[in-house]
Symmetry: C2
Subunit: 411 residues, 2 copies
């Protein structure tokens, strides 16, 4: 007898795409040590933490060094001071009422979107848009909600909803029954968004079909257009069918600081095999109290400062900075005849590769000829083939330089 | 059709014991607003972070505010600067050689000990000592590795290894085959430890029976006796059969700061259903890169400072402080004829309740008559009935006051 591994891991087809990107970039840099590579691949911010955030963070660190103000274990769900601020400042302005115990602070939307599936049975059918943030799919494959990957690049048993130029990146409602639907809006990787009207169709669908929407709003701070909702709870009835994930990473530069939160309204329920309903808020609370131990106290204090008037002013500047980069990328690419999407309500620009190149061909071309690193669209799913993601998170100078280099390529 | 919950959650018998403790304490405080309650229940530290740690933490926070030194996403496995320090300062001195990619930094030993089961198949048989840290059991129940709880207080399908005064808190080797064995040494909650010779029996058992030991060493800093190992890897051959969990919580006061790590040696393997072996280091790496996003950069810098000469000096003082409290508790209880265990290589004192009181009776007695909060032993498993856990983490003054109050009780 021997210990058995979780064999679902063997179904995973490839390593996280960024590993392959790193491999190729490292090889290129070794062979071309003088090349000035500009990275526009991974969705990581470059602007420092706002001063208001640093000040609060620092002062909380100093508290930890004094016996009178030292903080030990906090609540697994996060401190009320942060949860209440989120309700007040993120949701009340949208007309959304939430209670403190509907907010769960965590260290990452990545963790939360990966862990949320644990509270659901393995028999549920998962639906994802395609292309998609790989974590939604991989976490379900690892848990055992899929068969093997098929020749078409899709895992058996998972429902893929293609988003391409042909449907203007608006996913069609599923044709076969699905239980859990992952939606990321504004979308990673395509940078596109759904209007209030379009999103309402999904809420209606979920209600009619007893589905639940797992709504990743990590990029809500980039919404600039009036008719794009910032929270799914802006849609009537969403509190009965949707869980929302948010993060301080992309709005306030917390990618290296680590803080996020998840909203699980008390009105959402699911059933056991006898048809008895259970509220998901209690299940997620049980999951988090058993398997998580709360976010660092100074980090939660820092996150609260994001909501201060100075913090808000500073993060608005950063987002405008990144959106300006996005605009430059859009215009430069269009000027040389390359079709692009996104970048309006998002830091991501989704590029249609020219001349029917596949995603990795275009990756190699940009790396070798312009020394620019982007992300091959196919890494996000089969419908991403022939697309390429550029991010607006680099500096203005590097963004301009990158666009100059691309403009000089004869593509 | 409706979304199905994970029904394993319905098997969970009770909420985390600390919730019930809080309920009773809150009720008591409401009814007795003037009582000065001394908390010796939850295992949380009270001494502030060492100055060396605060200084490093603060300076890393300031780095995050400058564009030149800002840090975005770090490696999911943690920064090399911390992983290398751990290898050098925690393991080399014990004669244990590890490589950087065998160390995985995380935010909590709680998370790691709860998540580790994910990389193993559901068919594996789990063994736990009894009493036990509830997270090991609950995380397996939630994953589906148990049946319902039985009348004897044990979940069906999980193997319990009683540790009581009768066997001197040394668990017997399992009589039926088991795959994954959770050992916490020095032990939470009993405060007892195994000698090198006793632990060697477990390594030999694991090798002979192809089992794997999940070794929680969160309390290693409290080891004072020569023949108690600080790491399981001090035992010959352990790298082939053991995963070790460590934390900065109890040695350096990181309970509110959040940093821990897990060692998964490359030599440990498990098999798939075709008998093919897979190394667990790769599986855990895949788990962490997919479902975790790394620990806050300033927190990792702070953790590194634990290993500085000043940091080491300061944490040694804190541990001596807590161990002095432990000694006071031991002596005071023994003086009034109450039998106690642990507290020698651990901040926990495991009290045999007097006059055959059950754990909750003794809890209520201490709360009502001495205004002291401890933890009922039965909360850690059926073999904990008739025992009670006191922690040495309070201040010296409160510890002395608490012992004075108990000494005056006629028990």
């Amino acid at each position: 007898m021997s210990v058995k591994i979780n064999e679902n891991y063997l179904l995973l087809k490839s390593n996280y795409i960024f590993a392959e990107i790193n491999r190729r970039v490292e090889k290129f840099q070794k062979e071309n040590p003088d090349a000035q590579v500009i990275k526009m691949g991974i969705g990581d911010v470059t602007r420092p933490l706002p001063k208001a955030v640093v000040d609060a963070f620092e002062s909380a660190v100093l508290e930890m060094g004094q016996v009178e103000s030292f903080m030990g274990y906090g609540p697994e769900q996060g401190y009320s001071f942060l949860r209440e601020e989120i309700i007040e400042k993120d949701y009340k302005k949208l007309g959304v009422e939430l209670s403190t115990d509907e907010i769960f602070i965590s260290d990452a939307a990545k963790c939360d979107t990966a862990n949320i599936q644990e509270i659901f049975g393995l028999e549920n059918i998962i639906a994802v848009t395609d292309p998609v943030y790989p974590v939604y799919v991989d976490s379900n494959v690892m848990a055992g909600r899929s068969g093997p990957m098929q020749d078409n690049g899709q895992y058996k048993g998972i429902v893929y909803l293609p988003c391409t130029a042909e449907n203007n990146f608006i996913p069609e409602l599923p044709e076969t029954p699905v239980d859990l639907i992952y939606l990321c809006l504004p979308n990673n990787p395509t940078g596109t968004a759904l209007t209030r009207e379009e999103l309402t169709k999904w809420i209606d669908y979920a209600k009619e079909n007893n589905s639940i929407i797992l709504f990743d709003a990590a990029y809500e701070a980039y919404v600039t257009e009036e008719d794009i909702p910032r929270s799914i709870y802006e849609i009537e009835g969403a509190k009965e069918v949707a869980i929302e994930f948010r993060s301080f990473s992309k709005n306030a530069g917390f990618t290296g600081t680590r803080c996020a939160f998840t909203v699980v309204p008390k009105d959402i329920t699911a059933v056991d095999s006898e048809g008895k309903t259970h509220d998901l808020n209690s299940l997620w609370n049980r999951r988090q109290t058993t398997k998580f131990n709360g976010v660092s106290y100074p980090v939660q204090v820092a996150a609260k400062a994001v909501y201060s008037p100075e913090g808000q002013k500073e993060i608005k500047e950063s987002i405008e900075y990144y959106l300006k980069n996005a605009g430059i990328i859009r215009e430069s690419m269009e000027k040389i005849g390359i079709k692009v999407y996104g970048g309006m309500n998002s830091p991501y620009i989704w590029v249609k590769t020219p001349e029917n190149m596949d995603s990795w061909e275009f990756f190699d071309l940009l790396l070798n000829k312009a020394n620019i690193v982007g992300t091959p669209g196919v890494g996000f799913g089969p419908s991403g083939e022939g697309y390429f993601r550029l991010t607006a998170f680099n500096t203005l100078e590097n963004t301009i330089e990158a666009m100059n280099r691309i403009s000089k390529l004869s593509i």
